[in-house]
């Protein structure tokens, strides 16, 4: 069972957030949201944020992304509501932190970060729900390489991994689903 929530940056942190202190405040709130749930679909919505500096973005989003293995709690994460300037800030942040994040823009999902993972994510979008072998075939990758990429995308919250029940093959089998393009309302979740 998954739940979904949206963190409204504008409403909580302001229209012009500029300090690391404000970024840390926001990150603490994200950590609190995440800690109460398994299988959470978290959307971080920057709609209405007019300008923000790189230090704020790094403290808020950059450090949040690198401090979690979202796959460990079956969480997914995406960012939305970006304009040209705020998107650029997110891209710079992700590059500097050597991480990745899914971005929802006008209903379309993309991944910013490592270009091979972005290519993998793009293929995953066309597959919907899939197994590693299907992705390996599509991208002409070894199974190990495909699994490595899927592991990183799952850790980044861009994919959700679930165990296949009733598999006819031996051992555990998993299938992967791309982060949902649905944006939940901004109401706080009830305690888990």
């Amino acid at each position: 069972m998954t739940e979904a929530t949206t963190f409204q940056v504008r409403a909580i942190l302001g229209k012009y957030p500029v300090t690391r202190s404000r970024g840390k405040d926001g990150r603490d709130r994200l950590d609190d949201i995440l800690s109460g749930y398994n299988g959470l679909d978290l959307t971080i919505d920057f709609s209405g944020v007019e300008a923000m500096n790189q230090s704020f973005v790094d403290e808020f989003l950059g450090r949040f992304l690198v401090s979690h293995d979202f796959g460990a709690t079956d969480a997914t994460v995406k960012v939305t509501g970006l304009d040209e300037d705020t998107r650029f800030s997110i891209v710079v942040c992700v590059e500097r932190r050597d991480t990745q994040v899914a971005i929802l823009d006008s209903g379309a999902l993309t991944l910013v970060g490592d270009k091979f993972l972005a290519e993998t994510f793009e293929k995953a979008l066309t597959l919907g729900t899939f197994r590693a072998t299907a992705l390996a075939e599509e991208l002409k990758l070894s199974a190990q390489n495909a699994n490595n990429r899927l592991k990183r995308l799952t850790a980044a919250g861009a994919l959700r991994k679930s165990q296949v029940t009733g598999s006819s093959r031996g051992g555990k089998e998993f299938e992967y689903t791309v982060v949902s393009s649905h944006v939940a309302d901004g109401q706080p979740l009830t305690p888990a």
């Binding site: 012009y16 957030p17 500029v18 007019e50 300008a51 500096n53 704020f56 500097r96 932190r97």
Partner: protein, 290 residues
């Protein structure tokens, strides 16, 4: 100590703190011959006065003979923000004022507690309105740059004396283009001491070289993926107009200028006087309209 302010924007140009006639026991700020003050002058006067008061020095401010510039200091809250018991010499101008919050920010104390509120309530709306009015494209970049300087002041520049910020916009009617200026002057430990917290930069002994180093991307006294603030200030704002940027701290000073089409230049200077803390002055001129 004497701070003699002569002519136009003296603290941005050549004014020095000297031991002068008053020695180390007091601070006299002589603004009698001041003819034009930019935000760095305004915030710098107040920060220096607070630093001196924090060292138990009595402070005297000699007001400008030019009544217009005296009124401007009054309008920009220089007199209001001076330390308690500052002796003000000269004719104190009347304190009548109109709301110009879309064009300027008076000298204002800046702290970790107030920085985000200032950004939300004043900086963001002011910069957005100014760039919208003049057709400039750099509002987000300038807000971000100012935010980096404010964050540096309240993060690295913390002290009991605090930090001060001032903003002034210029319409360009009497110059060649609209211009935005902001200064943040803190009274903290300074750039070099902050940088030296990182063992990688502990070898620095000259302020100007430490400042120049701190302007490079990824150089930080803290480490851990930080140290891009100053390089972002320069890199982003110059894409949208002409940037003149100055940082002084301790006995050092670095000036950077640049635009989208030209490489910025850095000139580290050693100063004969000592800036207690870090002063940053950003001037951003919009491109000329065709």
């Amino acid at each position: 100590m004497d701070m003699v302010l002569v002519g136009d924007r003296p603290l941005a140009e050549a004014a020095l703190l000297s031991f002068g006639e008053t020695g180390l026991d007091s601070l006299k700020i002589d603004a009698t011959r001041l003819t034009f003050a930019c935000p760095l002058d305004l915030a710098g006067i107040v920060a220096t006065a607070h630093w001196a008061a924090g060292c138990s020095m009595p402070v005297t401010l000699d007001l400008p003979h030019d009544q217009d510039i005296g009124s401007y200091l009054q309008r920009m809250d220089v007199l209001r923000q001076m330390p308690a018991r500052t002796r003000i010499a000269g004719r104190v101008p009347a304190d009548g004022r109109a709301d110009l919050s879309e064009k300027l920010l008076e000298v204002t104390a800046l702290s970790l507690r107030t920085a985000d509120d200032l950004s939300e309530r004043v900086l963001g709306p002011l910069v957005t309105a100014f760039y919208d009015e003049h057709g400039g494209t750099g509002a987000a970049a300038v807000i971000g740059a100012c935010g980096e300087l404010m964050d540096n002041a309240v993060d690295h520049g913390q002290s009991e004396t605090g930090a001060f910020i001032a903003i002034q916009t210029y319409s360009g009617t009497t110059t060649d283009a609209p211009r935005f200026e902001m200064a943040v002057c803190d009274t903290g430990v300074g750039v070099m001491e902050t940088l030296r917290q990182n063992p990688q930069y502990a070898h620095h002994t000259r302020d100007e070289l430490a400042i120049a180093e701190a302007m490079r991307a990824g150089v930080s006294g803290i480490g851990a993926g930080r140290g891009n603030g100053l390089s972002d200030v320069i890199g982003k704002t110059r894409q949208h107009g002409r940037l003149d940027f100055q940082i002084r701290s301790g006995r050092g000073e670095v000036r950077v200028s640049g635009s989208a089409s030209s490489t910025h230049t850095e000139t580290p200077h050693s100063r004969p006087d000592q800036t207690s803390g870090t002063w940053a002055w950003l001037s951003h001129r919009m491109p000329k309209q065709e």
